[in-house]
Symmetry: C2
Subunit: 156 residues, 2 copies
DNA sequence: CTATTTTTTTATAATAAGTTTAAATCGTTA
DNA sequence: TAACGATTTAAACTTATTATAAAAAAATAG
């Protein structure tokens, strides 16, 4: 974990930003809750436990900065709030999401899956893809019993 | 176009809602701007031209209703507003979007493309897919000149 | 037909997410 | 130490969306 913070620190420095205590506390919260999809408000409340004096605006600014640096991805599942999701280190593509319409759980798919589709789109539509968002809405394995085989953990 | 309105009317009636003049005006705006991705505010301004006495809240309520009925899809491209997109009649899947990070244009992909991916997800993650959202962010054919072949129109 | 109930709309107020601003702070450099 | 730039805080402000109360319209009962 320290090494990841170090790398983020270097990334900030390379753009002449500093890793202030507030920013570090925010990054730590994101790392400690990597499985979740926290809103700015969620992050704010968690950061406050470490750094009670921090302001909400600072959290917003930090998240914005981290989004610019591609450390996190800002995502939106259609409820009114933006959520922030740590980009998996080394991954060249943004992971996908499974949103359960029964229980609200959000699971992640790290596998690419879109390689072929992207090729088709780039060639067929003459569009240079830089990023993507893929979310499936449906019923998760916890909410319907007819299983195949299992392994995942549960969230939210 | 009249026939589509008729069908929407029947859909409303089947859930014991009425196609009031305000709702009809709103639906007409959506049909007349099928290519675009209008925000509630956009719809409101366009509807006002036909029905100047309509209130913004009514437009919001109508769009919400149409979303419930799956006549439109509520989408979100990450700017702060929700946009409303007529569901292509007869299509069993929601179409995809290409958002240009240079010029902001939003193009649509009507082709499915996700059939195989969905099969993999349903089986591998034991998740019953009901809907999906797929958006590519990148550079559209208008913003980079190296063409292959062309046909699309332009929007926004 | 009139009275009554239900649905919908209007206008306005309220809420909630996110952004901006001005003043204070902090770290660094001259 | 003085001065500068970057950052943070707190508070005010915007903007999108939702809720509420009163009015209007439509459907239904008598």
């Amino acid at each position: 974990m320290e090494s990841r913070i170090d790398r983020i620190k270097k990334q900030l420095h390379s753009q002449s930003y500093k890793l202030t205590p507030q920013r570090e506390a925010t990054v730590r919260v994101l790392l400690e809750n990597e499985e979740d999809h926290l809103s700015a408000e969620d992050v704010y409340l968690l950061v406050k436990e470490k750094a009670p004096e921090i302001g909400l605006a600072t959290v917003y600014r930090t998240l914005e900065l981290l989004t610019e640096l591609k450390v996190v991805d800002k995502i939106n599942f259609g409820d009114g709030v933006s959520r922030y999701d740590l980009r998996t280190e080394g991954a060249d593509h943004f992971h996908h999401h499974l949103v359960c319409i029964e229980c609200g759980a959000v699971d992640e798919i790290q596998e690419d899956l879109l390689g072929d589709v992207e090729k088709v789109v780039e060639e067929g539509w003459n569009f240079k893809i830089k990023d993507h968002r893929l979310t499936f809405h449906g019923i998760c394995h916890r909410c319907h019993p007819k299983d195949h085989k299992e392994s995942e953990g549960s969230e939210e």
